[in-house]
């Protein structure tokens, strides 16, 4: 798995949606809704994450003629990617967290 993935805001949104339910099967439309990204942004991210080994992609096991619709593709974080994704999101959260007022005041007077 390639851990050197660049964590942009859209990528972080997708990862956050996947980490929220790591054992669930996620499909494109659901990820669009949970990440707030349009299809044109989401699918390149999913493809990049899949190629980097962060995601497993599998096809829904249905008979399209019986179901009356084509089979969907499902995405899930790989077991190796889940702790890395959690750590990277936590780091991002830490970096973007507003400084505590006391800390900010101390830094300002230092």
């Amino acid at each position: 798995m390639n851990t050197e993935l660049r964590l942009t805001v859209p990528v972080a949104r997708v990862l956050a949606a996947l980490v929220a339910d790591p054992s669930g099967d996620h499909y494109g439309m659901e990820l669009m809704q949970s990440s707030g990204l349009p299809s044109g942004t989401l699918y390149p991210i999913l493809a990049r994450l899949t190629e980097a080994g962060w995601l497993d992609k599998r096809w829904e096991d249905i008979d399209p003629s019986e179901a009356g619709r084509p089979a969907r593709a499902y995405y899930r974080l790989t077991p190796a990617a889940l702790p890395v994704a959690r750590q990277r999101l936590a780091e991002l959260h830490e970096q973007t967290r507003p400084a505590h007022p006391h800390v900010a005041a101390k830094e300002a007077t230092a």
Partner: protein, 276 residues
């Protein structure tokens, strides 16, 4: 009707993806499109995919013969088109009076647009050039050949003197610097910024090309009788009708489209080349 449009948009989007992923992505998108409840959602879904770029460009195999043919066509276009256009344009740019200035303004504006469109079309027709010339060197070669062509044209016409040669040399050097910068910026993924640099390069290099010409002494052009004596429209007209400006726009757009349309060779082919 809408359904057909959506499927057309998805098919168009899929064509931009790498060949190895194309079929799977299209099947996935069609499955999602199928379950979207409203027409607006379906259209938005398909349009977003059709107007976005994939995470990586698909590798493209261009035969060596085709690449050489594209290279020769590129050479012919950047030498023949300016050589034919420069004398032809003199028919409508050389003289003017209050009766002709209106249609000359339209023709000047149209020529600027036509030069850009022609450059884009030529770039998309000769994409194999970047297999013969490195993408980062395309600007250097395009401007270099354009420089030799224009200088040769003025030399044969008897209009080349030391001042013009100096101006054209400054033009070529500034053009190479700015267009190569645009290519590097595009290579870093900033396509829009790269186009901004190309757009800026046009007036900057055009200014270098006219350091010793009448355009640098605008009051000597006799434009005070036109456009109600207003400076800006008269100056824009005087610049816009310059045939060299149209040639510059054509060359810059052509070179930059070639850079942007460059696609990597397939891995197998690349490794064979390395092994060879």
């Amino acid at each position: 009707m809408i359904s057909r449009l959506c499927h057309t948009l998805l098919a168009r989007a899929a064509r931009r993806w790498p060949v190895d992923l194309r079929a799977a992505m299209l099947a996935e998108w069609q499955a999602e499109l199928h379950v979207l409840p409203t027409t607006a959602q379906r259209l938005r879904y398909a349009a977003s995919l059709a107007t976005s770029r994939p995470h990586r460009e698909g590798a493209v195999l261009i035969s060596p013969q085709r690449a050489v043919a594209h290279g020769l066509l590129w050479l012919a276009l950047i030498t023949v088109l300016p050589t034919v256009y420069l004398p032809l344009a003199l028919n409508w740019t050389s003289g003017m009076d209050p009766g002709t200035v209106v249609w000359q303004t339209w023709v000047a504006g149209g020529s600027v647009v036509a030069a850009a469109v022609l450059g884009a079309v030529c770039g998309s027709l000769t994409t194999g050039v970047t297999r013969v010339i490195e993408p980062m060197s395309v600007a250097r070669w395009t401007v270099g050949v354009g420089y030799v062509t224009v200088v040769a044209y003025y030399l044969v016409g008897g209009g080349l003197d030391g001042a013009m040669l100096t101006d054209m040399t400054y033009w070529a050097l500034s053009a190479v610097a700015l267009c190569t910068l645009a290519a590097k910026v595009a290579g870093a993924g900033w396509r829009l910024l790269s186009w901004v640099i190309v757009v800026i390069a046009v007036p900057v290099t055009f200014w270098f090309a006219h350091l010793h010409s009448a355009l640098s002494d605008f009051s000597a052009l006799g434009m005070e009788y036109f456009f109600g004596g207003e400076y800006l429209p008269a100056f824009l007209f005087a610049v816009g009708k310059q045939e060299l400006l149209h040639v510059i726009i054509f060359l810059f757009v052509y070179a930059h489209v070639l850079v942007l349309r460059h696609r990597a060779a397939p891995v197998a082919e690349a490794s064979q080349e390395v092994a060879a």
